[in-house]
């Protein structure tokens, strides 16, 4: 039930949002003037009321979107995903890959830090050893021979 409610809410958001966006687009390009020009050029006068051009355009708008998203297809193939599904799965794959990459990078940097620490420790040990060696050369020679 809750999922249906959510779907309905998102559907309403998409409905009004896309409607608003197309109205803003029409305002942007000044479609009323453009249609007036087309009317005067094709039928010779500008009709007072909203005519066939606008109605045809509006219906075509819906048809175009449905065609683009492959909804009206002559051959109905069940397994064929719609382009939107492809796009969504692509995006999710990208997100998963990015998460994986971030994890790997963190691990790499951690291991690098650990390595660096180890190397530093080794160096320090060596330095300690060498400083000790300076004083105890004879002991070391003996130890190597014994090995």
């Amino acid at each position: 039930m809750a999922s249906y409610l959510k779907s309905a809410l998102i559907g309403i958001v998409i409905f009004f949002g896309s409607g608003f966006s197309i109205m803003a687009f029409h305002n942007d390009i000044g479609i009323v003037d453009l249609f007036a020009q087309i009317y005067t050029q094709v039928i010779g006068y500008e009709p007072r009321q909203t005519g066939g051009l606008e109605i045809g355009y509006s219906i075509g708008l819906a048809l175009g979107i449905l065609i683009f998203f492959n909804h009206i297809s002559l051959k109905k193939r069940e397994k064929d995903p719609t382009p939107l599904q492809v796009e969504v799965s692509k995006y999710e794959q990208d997100v998963e890959d990015t998460i994986q990459r971030i994890k790997e990078k963190e691990q790499q940097s951690q291991t690098r830090d650990q390595k660096q620490e180890k190397q530093q420790n080794q160096k320090e040990n060596l330095q300690d050893a060498s400083s000790k060696e300076a004083g105890e050369n004879s002991d070391k020679d003996i130890g190597e021979k014994q090995e």
């Binding site: 896309s18 050029q41 051009l53 355009y57 819906a62 175009g64 939107l84």
Partner: protein
């Protein structure tokens, strides 16, 4: 025509050619990059006619450009042509808006954020209906920029 007039005409001509080529390249690049033509051709399985489609794109841009530049130029064929033109223009603009929404990956991001797994056709139908109703509202209420 005096010499200076001819010179100015040539300069205007060159300016027109450069401006026109830049504009047409921009428009065509936008339409191609957004992937409308490939999808139309792909979904209709008519790759063999691609040369024809190219010529139709060129002719369409050329004719409409000339038509919009000369408002006195008329093409009186009757009312049916207006309806046909509106239908074709609407379908193309619908494709453009859908492709734009897809290229900007609005829906994938929205679906992931809101955790939606199924029912995409419902949202697509809602989008198409919303576009149509918005356009009807715009035209029948005489909204003007």
């Amino acid at each position: 025509m005096s010499g200076s007039q001819i010179l100015s005409w040539i300069l205007w001509f060159l300016l027109g050619i450069t401006a026109g080529s830049a504009t047409s390249a921009g428009v065509l690049a936008f339409l191609l990059k957004i992937g409308i033509y490939p999808r139309m051709i792909g979904s209709s399985h008519t790759v063999r006619l691609v040369k024809f489609y190219e010529w139709m794109i060129i002719l369409g841009i050329l004719c409409s450009g000339i038509y919009s530049e000369y408002p006195n130029l008329t093409f009186p064929v009757g009312y049916w042509f207006v309806i046909l033109w509106g239908l074709c223009a609407g379908m193309f603009v619908g494709c453009v808006s859908a492709a734009l929404a897809e290229v900007l990956s609005i829906f994938p991001v929205l679906f992931r954020r809101l955790d939606i797994k199924s029912g995409m056709s419902f949202y697509m139908i809602m989008m198409a209906l919303g576009k149509m109703c918005g356009a009807f509202w715009y035209f029948f209420h005489g909204l003007k920029p």
